[in-house]
Amino acid sequence: MPGMNSGLSPSDPTLVAAFRSALLHQGAIALLMLVFLWLLWATARTWRPAVSAGTSGVTAGEPAEARARWLLRTGFGVLWIFDGILQAQPKMAGGLATQVMEPIAASSPGWVQHLVNWGGTAWSYHPIQAGAASVWIQVGIGTWLIVAVRGPWSRLAGAASVIWGLIVWVFGESFGGIFAPGLSWLTGAPGAVLIYVVAGALIALPGGAWRAPRPGRLLLAGLGVFFAAMAVLQAWPGRGFWPGRAAAKPGTLSRMVTEMAGTPQPHFLSSLLSGFASFATRYGFAVNLVVVIALAAMGAAFLSGRPRLVRYAMWSGIVFCLADWVLVQDFGFLGGLGTDPNSMIPLIVLFSAGYLALTPAAQEAEAPARAAEAKRPGVRSVAAAGALAVILLGAAPMAAAAVNRTADPILALAISGNSTSLNLPAPGFSLTDQNSRTVSLASLRGKVVLMTFLDPVCTSDCPIIAQEFKQTGQMLGAQAKNVELVAVVANPTYRSTAFTRAFDRQEGLTTVPDWLYLTGSLSQLGAVWRHYGVAVENLPAGAMAAHNDLAVVIDPAGRIRQELSSDPGPATLSTRSSFSVLLGQYARQALRQS
């Protein structure tokens, strides 16, 4: 997946700092937490069980919200906000594409990888915008779900949850791995966010639909089929879940748990997981038997639709899911790049809501809302509109980033460090271009000169830098006619015009207007290298000639305005584009300064 890897470390300090800045640093995250807690408190304060509605002074004609819907709405609202906060972790901007999306997609078919690569590329080109957008969109959806209790606003929140959930499920979870081998309920199949999507769809149902047990029955029936299918998958011979050990190695489940134990986390948690992995290795058959029986039993109970059976299944399911959440999924959100608490908590919320919908309280259908709610509809509408604004705050830059084919210059800054702003006269030179014409710096007056030093027989950096310069020229558009792209040979041996021409042919530079590849005698080149602070030397034993990667921006008056490292770093598609954008920005700046 060539596009989605920026090649930079997720912990790159420049990226992390920029991401923090975009999120108003730690303070903004803390503020979100406070708002989150306040919302929880406010919601808890306003909700009372329907049984007390009749005694608390209600306004007739406005039905109370069904318990099942309330559970879905607040439960998934809380989950979305929690996920949004997880998205604010420092490594998320630089690491989500390469360390979450790419590994998940790696075992999926080619078409899935291709699709995910498209999304991952957009992320890696604009990691700060994408990272921050994910935070705001998820916090916004969560807040919206919580504050919009009923009516079109509330149903729209459910629809928003469906749309964003599908985007995350496809690009972030590679369809929950359903097209990859090794699918298992234990590890989160069919993708945690698909459960958010189902919940969102249920929330989007008209409020009246919840007055009858039908949605509950349908939901439980669907869950029953799901659990039964997961039991079959878990029991299927040859999928590796039965043996605790296979070919003298830990079995599939043990390996999964051991892998999770390697996630950075408190020692007691990793010890707990390691202990369970050992247990699963020793008693693999028994462990899988328990899992299969439990899944099958829950499936049968949910399919039966009998409230008593469903209640037993719900409570035992909660215990079972929590055990899996701790012992197999390792809470899902640890390690600095966890995006959600995985599938067990949302699943608990979903089937619990199914039970509540199956058994509506006697008063629920008729009970009106509390008077306090009825008196404050404006507050909730405003709050819902605020939440929508938060979503748009994230969605707008993400949409802009997705269609922007050039990368954020922050990647180049992360690689080369901040450039140095200067205002010095550029040392003059007179050299020979690739067409054997003499070119002096003075002859380039009136144009911005983007200048670098390239070895024509270089095997790594120089061809990449040349491509970045070429791309800069293309990005400048009409302004390119005021910019000269100049490279000076940086090899004491292979420096004739035959080599500059060969290099130009190799890099497709022969047709680039305003491209000059300059060379000269060793003494001429030596003087230019010395004046511009470039150290060039031949190295022994088959190594490339060494030189530092440097670029300077010379304004039309012949003054150096910027000096920066042109080290292309990992030279991925996004970093190349990022360098070009940065150079283009400096060129425009120098044009303005003139």
């Binding site: 027989v457 270089c458 095997t459 790594s460 120089c462 061809p463 990449i464 090899n491 004491p492 041996t493 292979y494 004739s496 035959a498 080599f499 060969a502 042919r505 190799q506 031949n538 190295l539 022994p540 034993a541 088959g542 190594a543 490339m544 000639a545 060494a546």
Partner: protein, 389 residues
Amino acid sequence: MNRGPASRIRVGLALACAGLTAGCGTQAATVAVTRPPAVTASLSTSLTTAQGTWAIAVMGGSAASHDNFWQLFVRRANTGRWSLATPQGVADNGGLVAAGGNGSLVVGFRPSQELAYSPLATSTDAGLNWTPGLLDAALADTPGAIAVGPSGRTLALLQDGTIEAAPTADDAAAGRWVPLATLKALAASAPGRSCGLKGMTAVSFGPDQNPIAAGSCVRPGAAGVFTDAGGTWRSAGLTLPGNGPSMGTVRVLGLTAFPGGNAALLAVGTSLLAAWWDGTRWTVSAPVTADGVRALGFGPGGSAWLLLDSERAETIAGAAGSTWRALPPVPTGTAVLAPPGTGTLAPGTGGSYDALAVSGSRLTVWRLARGAWGKVQQITVPVQYGSSG
């Protein structure tokens, strides 16, 4: 791949030539054909020029290919010591190819990473100084990809099978090369069609100074060696006795010129043969059997050596009628053998072959004396790890 005995076809071909026949003089040979040849011509090789003996080997040892650097060593004439002579200025992770002639040695750098063409370097003082040259195309990945004639005319075999020529050494330095033939054109020519030419492996000059090209053919028993006579390519007439489907396809692993003739190393299945040409007739050696060839090279007078799997090494003198002679098991890590610098190996004598063993950035030179390898020199090469990363 079925390696069971049932699948093995051992065909013993008693190749007897009752006498010299026109265009073909062949010694007895037994060619074993079992499965597609496992032999590949590594770029590790050695060659001898008037300046001395040269050896090329890859060093570094890192798992990352861009931390493996190819090195050129020279044992200058009249000295027994080796020294590092790798030309500077270009990263050579892609490999080095060398050819001697006209009092000089030309070294070509194979492309690697972002570099798509092949810089050259020429030395006329046994590697003390180098002059840059340019081949604005990718040199083929075979040790016989460059040839230099006595007049300085230079041939280069490209990655795509094209043969280019530079009329003089100056032209080669300045990048003035002209196409001589393409693989497609050669394969479509009468001799190319006759042998089913599918790829080129080496270039050289014949005794008449005309270019020679060699490659691999799909027609069993047909050897693809061609000569260029004024723009028309003709078969050089190398045919292996016992020609037929049972013989297997012939691949020319190496080709070189020596005063008065050419020598070639051929692979037919798991059989390896040497062949010599004096301009009118070929002489083919008896075969030696091997599962794989790690390196090969030529010495003075058409002599040749093979470094085989399992630390086996075989040498053969250039004289007609000579036979393969096994050397004692070579020292661990041996990457290349270097023949005696002067004279022709007399059959049955040990000569003074050197075995150059590589371990990371250390080269150990072992010399064969009185039937045993003795360590004579060690060179620590200043490999610039990470410089091509």
